[in-house]
């Protein structure tokens, strides 16, 4: 049910995205493009996962196929084989994704649950191992590269034009997917997730339905892949890697697969996180792993689930009760994060090849190391007292913060429940 408030929120979000490039550096514009593509990919993945309960471990296959299809179309235009407007190139990705979605989906959807995941994983691996040896189609190990052609009065030379192209396609695809969840087939997807046997007894051909839903998910995945190809103007076989399939699963679940916009949110946030932290530290994958495991353990419904819980269950003034506990949680969280980061980065510097070599040159003496622009002595107690204090303080405050927050949450929601009855 679309309410006026939600519509307003949506328009506001779109307006922000439309005006965003004005105030951003080219590097950041590029980052936002990648975030939108990741968000679209995650939404398409969640269409199969969240709606129909099909956990695909090989969605990178359709992402990559969409990207290669787009690149081949763009290359054909460049070689003047035929004309094709650049803004419509994602259609090639969509068609390619849909066709392979039907083909692969036909096999994969014969199985459910873990077996489905395994078949999709195997199909993606098949492409991943085939692509580097199949030169004519996937360009071998170096991949395929091309240029964006000018069309419709745009040159697509700058990132700004690519930005608006991506935004338009992402918004349009998102609207299509949202509309899809309203169609009878979209409703059937939910039924399939909840009780497939019953759907079959009601006379539906569940295999065809599941294949179609999977193929539609692949269609939008192909669009996302094509947009990536347009943004990068190149790709190679690594796009099919398990890593790429894994990323979208991680992002979707961090965002929350049970809500419509959660996956997009998770994907955008995690892409941004990766972009920022991969410049700062080489251990960023470790932090990403920590985030994922913590979300799985303590917020299994993801960020979207948390937001939903707040939007649905809080009574109107309840948020005021939560401000202080949340600030406390924030402080505790920051203390713990600072402690962990200090330890990890110290180990990283101390065990790095450069530091080891220096130490050997100094005859095995313990040399001070640099961290955050300051020098620390690796064997002095004062150095390790810093993370120890941070971790102990955080650890001591953690039970307090949990209890405090839990009580405040109970008060804020209980009141809402009573208000409903009154």
């Amino acid at each position: 049910m679309i309410t006026a408030r939600r519509l307003l929120l949506l328009c506001f979000g779109l307006a922000v995205l439309a005006l965003l490039p004005i105030g951003l550096t080219p590097n950041l514009v590029n980052a936002v493009i990648k975030m939108m593509i990741a968000a679209l990919f995650a939404l398409a993945f969640a269409l199969a996962m969240g709606q129909a309960g099909m956990l695909s471990f090989g969605h990178a296959a359709y992402y990559g196929l969409g990207a290669f299809a787009a690149l081949h179309v763009m290359r054909a235009v460049e070689l003047k084989w035929f004309g094709f407007p650049t803004p419509l190139v994602p259609l090639a990705g969509a068609v390619c994704g849909f066709l392979f979605g039907i083909l692969f989906g036909w096999f994969a959807t014969q199985r459910t649950g873990v077996y489905f995941s395994m078949v999709t994983l195997a199909l993606a691996e098949l492409l991943f191992t085939l692509a580097p040896t199949w030169n004519s189609l996937f360009g071998g190990e170096s991949g395929v590269s091309t240029m964006r052609g000018a069309s419709w009065g745009f040159t697509f030379g700058s990132d700004i034009e690519v930005y608006y192209l991506t935004l338009a396609w992402a918004a349009f695809s998102t609207w299509c997917m949202w509309a899809f969840t309203r169609t009878p087939l979209g409703r059937l997807a939910l039924a399939l997730r909840d009780n497939e046997h019953r759907v079959r007894f009601l006379g539906f051909n569940t295999h065809v339905a599941r294949t179609l839903i999977f193929a539609i998910s692949c269609l939008f995945t192909g669009v996302a892949g094509a947009l990536l190809a347009i943004a990068n103007e190149a790709t190679n076989y690594t796009i099919f890697s398990t890593q790429a399939s894994a990323n979208v699963v991680l992002q979707t679940f961090i965002g929350g697969s049970g809500t419509f916009f959660g996956p997009a949110l998770g994907a955008a946030l995690m892409t941004f996180f990766a972009r920022v932290t991969s410049d700062l530290t080489r251990s960023w994958l470790l932090y990403q792993g920590f985030i994922f495991v913590l979300v799985m353990l303590f917020a299994p419904d993801g960020i979207g689930g948390l937001i939903n819980a707040h939007a649905r269950r809080l009574k109107p003034g309840g948020i005021k009760r939560l401000v202080v506990p949340y600030l406390l949680c924030l402080v505790v969280g920051l203390l713990l994060i600072a402690g962990v980061v200090f330890v990890v980065e110290s180990i990283h510097v101390l065990l790095s090849d450069g530091h080891m070599a220096k130490q050997r040159a100094a005859g095995g003496a313990n040399l001070p190391y640099m961290l955050l622009g300051r020098e620390f002595d690796p064997v002095s107690a004062a150095t390790w007292a810093i993370p120890a204090t941070l971790l102990i303080a955080g650890g001591a405050l953690l039970p307090l913060a949990t209890r405090f927050t839990r009580r405040a949450w109970a008060l804020a929601t209980q009141a809402a429940a009573q208000g409903d009855h009154a």
């Binding site: 096999f107 873990v114 195997a122 191992t129 040896t133 470790l286 495991v293 799985m296 065990l351």
Partner: protein, 313 residues
């Protein structure tokens, strides 16, 4: 003939190694329904633990320490993580182990760097077992195969001939009944998970000394182990053995053959056309050897979804 014999030997040993890693996974899955994504990462952890102890104390200490350390990690993971998310279903358990795989890999990279470490077998095991067609066949390969066979025998006897094995197998089929009979089900689960992880760790310590021990060894193995478990039938030890031998032989044979689809079509007179078309038709079997296991898995899942020896449940 030389090619044939060498391929059979190498394929068998490779298959037995695969079995060592996948045995633990299939046990864990058969019993708890948890598809442990991090299993191959426990294998890698075992190799690194083995390396650490080998360089300090000696090779056999490494072999002893690896299963203990990985088994202990398994206990922690089961007790404090998997049990928490159990209520949210198997998908969440799978995803949690997925995140764990990330963490294990990155922690190992943090301590040991991005490049392979120099983990070697002891010098007295570095000799040729026998000479075959003027090439020496390393003894250590036979040692790996022997260790895997011994592991299979011990596991099989443990599961079928002892009281512990009976309880474990019963808990696979009727967990609530086993619990009602007074057995501590969570502890059994924890034990199976720890045991499975320990097996992976042991395999890592043994294999790591022969093959390169680096941060990418888990990724290379990770998906292959799944293939073995799915093809063999989830939860079936014998199935895992047959499947790993099959895949080992498959890979070692395919790696040396220059056949292509064009040659196959040549038999029915379409060879010239296929060669002209190029692309998929002229790809040699050797170059796509790595895709073979996945093709096999898709085929098995479509024809016999429960796996070669799995039972439909």
């Amino acid at each position: 003939l030389e090619y044939f014999v060498v391929s059979v030997l190498n394929g068998t040993v490779h298959g037995l190694l695969l079995f060592m890693v996948s045995a633990g996974l299939t046990l864990i899955f058969g019993m708890m329904g948890v598809l442990n994504f991090a299993h191959a990462w426990f294998y890698m952890l075992g190799a690194y633990v083995g390396y650490t102890f080998t360089s300090r104390l000696g090779f056999w200490w490494g072999l002893l320490a690896a299963p203990i350390v990985t088994g202990f990690c398994g206990i922690l993971v089961e007790r404090y993580m998997l049990r928490r998310v159990h209520n949210y279903g198997h998908a969440h358990e799978l995803l949690l182990t997925f995140g764990l795989a990330f963490i294990i890999e990155e922690v190992i990279k943090l301590f040991y760097g991005d490049f392979p470490v120099n983990y070697q077998m002891p010098a007295y095991m570095r000799f040729a077992a026998f000479t075959l067609f003027e090439t020496n066949y390393p003894f250590y390969r036979l040692f790996m195969g022997g260790a895997a066979l011994a592991m299979f025998a011990v596991l099989y006897l443990l599961l079928t001939r002892t009281r512990i094995g009976i309880i474990v197998r019963a808990a696979t089929y009727r967990p609530t009944t086993v619990e009602a009979l007074g057995h501590n089900l969570p502890v059994i689960f924890m034990g199976v998970f720890a045991g499975g992880s320990a097996l992976a760790g042991l395999a890592g310590a043994i294999a790591g000394a022969f093959f390169p021990t680096g941060p990418e060894m888990a990724v290379n193995f990770g998906t292959l182990v799944f293939v073995v478990v799915v093809v063999g039938g989830l939860g079936s030890l014998e199935g895992a053995l047959v499947a790993s031998l099959m895949i080992g032989l498959f890979i070692s044979f395919a790696a040396g053959l220059g056949w292509s689809l064009a040659d196959l079509l040549g038999l029915i007179g379409l060879g010239a056309w296929a060669r002209e078309a190029g692309g998929l038709f002229t790809l040699q079997l050797a170059t796509i050897a790595a895709s073979m296991p996945f093709l096999l898995m898709v085929l098995v899942l479509l024809i016999r979804p429960a796996g070669l020896m799995g039972d439909r449940r």
